[in-house]
């Protein structure tokens, strides 16, 4: 596969952006919890989640590049209005909770640095995210999040500096159980999968491919971005888990607030620098994810109802679209203003994402095989087998999440 210079830049940019998309508040929180309580034993869950995300992201990008229609528009076109209304209603609810969690993550990062409670930061943070969306264009936000996202590599360096026992890390990559506390182990496993396989990332990614005017010639670029970008993101997430396993597990600390995770990096990097790096990583990853989650809600409605849409358009050129993300942000600020615990809300929204996963993934099976949209770029046997396996996995997750939350949450 030979790539032109422009395509190489696209790949580099896509890889960096996907770190922002991949590593959100949910991934940080669930990986840290996993490491603190079960050592390296959830690493294989991260691997499985990453594999699923690579396939789904590749498909959503390919669909949009070839057809010029983002997935959510096609979902209504092929599966009808009633299906669109039912799934969108579910996704708006989950979307608001996820967005609220991301806002909570940014507010907490600011609390760590300033000492002022996250409740006071909720409104300014909401306003900041809104102002970025209102004034920025897709390209600017994409590149900005990409560059700033490099800060999250701090987790990787911290993990390396702690010299984790490689044999044990390797054993964590092999699927296994939780041992002493199975229900809790599996609850965290489900939350990790819910955090990694976020439908909003898919709607955002396929809309972005349309905003960037991708065409069928970008199919190879898209594949590279999906594989390398998501792989890169998973390395960072795995680093969070490893740091938590090295710092918290021996001390018997259970992660129940972000200040502790920050402390973990402080220990790892010997000094205040680690603390600030953690706050910056958390804040930036959450800003990226908040932008994507807010846009995803506007994309879903605009595409399913045939509005004109686009983050690259001035708000006055796509008023229904820009009013939708504004409204989504207004609603999502409320939980933090009321003082809901951000970490608890995050784990709850990740579990809810897992419950709603089957309806989000099922359309892939129909759409990715539609000749009118994809022509010769339809799914092959491998991709279809993966989609079926993921739908099966999603159903299992949806069924076990609530009992696990009651027993092990």
């Amino acid at each position: 596969m030979k790539l032109s210079p422009r395509q190489l830049i696209e790949v580099a940019l896509g890889v960096l952006t996907s770190v922002g998309g991949y590593l959100d508040v949910g991934a940080v929180a669930t990986s840290a919890q996993a490491g603190a309580e079960f050592g390296f034993r959830h690493l294989w869950v991260l691997g499985l989640g990453t594999l699923v995300v690579i396939f789904l992201v590749e498909m959503s990008g390919r669909f949009a590049a070839v057809s010029g229609h983002p997935l959510r528009a096609a979902l209504r076109e092929r599966l009808g209005f009633n299906f669109f209304v039912a799934t969108s209603a579910a996704e708006m609810v989950v979307g608001v909770l996820v967005l609220a969690s991301e806002i909570g993550g940014i507010a907490l990062a600011l609390q760590l640095v300033t000492g002022v409670s996250y409740r006071w930061w909720a409104l300014p943070v909401g306003l900041l995210v809104w102002a970025l969306l209102w004034n920025g264009t897709f390209g600017v936000l994409e590149k900005g999040v990409a560059l700033l996202g490099l800060v999250t590599l701090a987790f990787f360096f911290a993990a390396v500096r702690l010299h984790p026992p490689l044999g044990e890390v390797a054993r964590g990559v092999i699927p296994g159980g939780g041992g002493h506390d199975a229900a809790h182990y599996w609850f965290i496993a489900v939350a990790i999968l819910g955090a990694l396989i976020s439908p909003y990332l898919l709607w955002f990614y396929s809309s972005g491919a349309v905003e960037d005017h991708w065409s069928a010639s970008d199919v190879p670029t898209n594949r590279m971005v999906a594989v390398v970008g998501m792989g890169f993101g998973s390395v960072v997430a795995a680093s969070v888990l490893i740091v938590a396993a090295m710092v918290f597990l021996p001390r018997g600390i259970v992660v129940d607030d972000y200040a502790q995770i920050a402390l973990g990096l402080t220990t790892a990097l010997e000094g205040k620098l680690g603390f600030y790096l953690f706050a910056a990583s958390l804040g930036i990853a959450c800003v990226g994810a908040a932008l994507e989650a807010a846009l995803a809600m506007a994309y879903v409605l605009a595409q399913g109802l045939g509005w004109n849409w686009g983050e690259s358009l001035k708000p006055r050129r796509a008023t229904r679209f820009s009013v939708t993300y504004t409204a989504a942000l207004l609603v999502s600020v409320v939980p933090m203003l009321l003082g809901v615990d951000p970490l608890a809300l995050t784990v709850f929204s990740m579990a809810l994402t897992a419950v709603a996963l089957p309806i989000a993934i099922f359309p892939f099976l129909v759409l990715m095989n539609d000749e009118r949209y994809l022509g010769r770029h339809r799914n092959g046997r491998l991709s279809n087998a993966v989609v079926i396996a993921v739908i099966a996995l999603a159903f299992v997750l949806a069924v076990v999440t609530i009992p696990l939350q009651l027993k092990g949450g």
Partner: protein, 123 residues
Amino acid sequence: MEEGRRVDLVGEVLDQRLVDFIGRPMGCVDGLVLELEEGEPPRVSHVQTGGVTLARRLRGPLGGWLAAAARRWGGTRGEPFRIPWERVKAVGLDVEVELDADATPAWHWEHRLGRLVAKIPGS
């Protein structure tokens, strides 16, 4: 439209995106109107778009609320917005119509919200 082409109305037209003469999205094909004449085969006379038509497709109270909202605040005062089939230029992934989206009720809300959006700096 090319002569003699067979079009699957539900598969290829219903729910597809409607675009105007310069490709701007103006909603989706929310409904199709058939004209029945004694002794003639049914003929597609219009495509419909907008909240009034959508409300009729929804079951339960949601449809009722949407219909009431469309009567009260909609651009067509509770009447469905119909586009004569003669205006349909092409049926592909998008259904292209020979209309200016800006001048149709399809953009009623785009314009109403536009007055609000214009007051905010940076818009």
